[in-house]
Symmetry: C2
Subunit: 268 residues, 2 copies
Amino acid sequence: MKTIFLTNDDGIQALGLRTLAHLMSRLGRVVVVAPDSARSGAACSITPTTPILLNEWHDYDKGDADPLLPARGEHPIAYYTCSGTPVDCVKLASETVLDAAPDLMVSGINHGDNASISAHYSGTVGAVVEATLKGWPSVAFSLRTFQRRPDFSPFFDTIVRIAAQVLAQGLPSFECLNVNFPEVESLRGIRVGRMARGIWSGEWEDAHNPHGKRAFWLTGRFTNLEPEQEDTDYWALDHGYAAVTPLHLDMTAHGSLEMLRKLFHDNP
Amino acid sequence: MKTIFLTNDDGIQALGLRTLAHLMSRLGRVVVVAPDSARSGAACSITPTTPILLNEWHDYDKGDADPLLPARGEHPIAYYTCSGTPVDCVKLASETVLDAAPDLMVSGINHGDNASISAHYSGTVGAVVEATLKGWPSVAFSLRTFQRRPDFSPFFDTIVRIAAQVLAQGLPSFECLNVNFPEVESLRGIRVGRMARGIWSGEWEDAHNPHGKRAFWLTGRFTNLEPEQEDTDYWALDHGYAAVTPLHLDMTAHGSLEMLRKLFHDNP
């Protein structure tokens, strides 16, 4: 039987996680190790400074009758919580509850999109980066929404299709998929696109600290710097498509190596 | 006068930060916003869930006579602490203590290397990624050491040289530099290289929780998967060179776009 590992950054109680667990149980047995509460914006962070707790999670059956959840598949689901970050969840699962490398790793469904440069901050994507570094075929799923209980049903078929595809054929070494959905009742289809260039600005609001200290809440607005470019993930989302972006974990700017070699090797 | 922004992930007290501040004050006025304590492994994480405090830091003069520090340059240094992550430090500086985009951003000097895949976990690199997303020419500096008070003096000249180069000529859009030093008394030179492929394993040790819970410390050993490849950052470090790696923030796996388009666009 195939094994599918699942985590997220919204925490074990998130509807997106439960939804993905139920969908994946149609394809294989599912092992979940998810943060014990929300870890939004965790990126690839790890926890070297404090011990990390791992617990079985038995409360899942309380929520199983949620009308927003898809039906479970035929295969079992095991739930665990972890006191660390999404990357900690992957690392800890790898050496504890998983007896071998899983056939597929999925992360999400995140409540909020992780397209464009937001992929750099995302714990959902961070977990997938970690799994990919371990050699597991891995996919991150996110929905552009601000709702705590969005309707994920328009994306069920596409999620299962992408997961089944990766489960069957794998992915190139050091690569993973970042999949983002627009909040629509019906998808227009799938668009494969690159990360759009964008920028966050207006990122801080005064937190009005009563003790007179300078304190700020992180917030901000995102601007897509190339809204006309049809080959980007953001264009796909803005036009009602699921955006599929392959990510490569070698961050080397290969195009700049020669210029830098000329600069530094010839003038030691 | 040029403005140089500085942060790190080891925190405001770290010798590596003070060293870099003193060196940069030879090139321009220096503004430091650093975490109020260590944030190792913070990657690109951000803090959306709690207010972030910003404080001026006046204790710096206590440490200024440290014999391990290089002499200060002619330009002033302003120190601030931030209660968030390294990326929070960059974001917060951008909208508070900096009146304009700095001419150069530097991060470090990290106590520990951030070569190969460790760049993905590094808060030192995370801060540089954030600054690059803001369009600032940015460089991360790290030393392969386990010492809290290492001797950074063998790297002073190379640090100033690289920083002056980037200050004068900038970097391509969406690219930054990740510079790692080996712990040697004398560098053999600079090697420009790509991120080596590697893997972390044996990452957890039992934390012997007295209450009977399953608890683990994150640790682990790194294995370079391509030790013979002379064009990597790890090879450079292993052979006594400073490793300079240009990083590109577009993580798109461009080589896989067409294959995925065939797979998903033609079969909607």
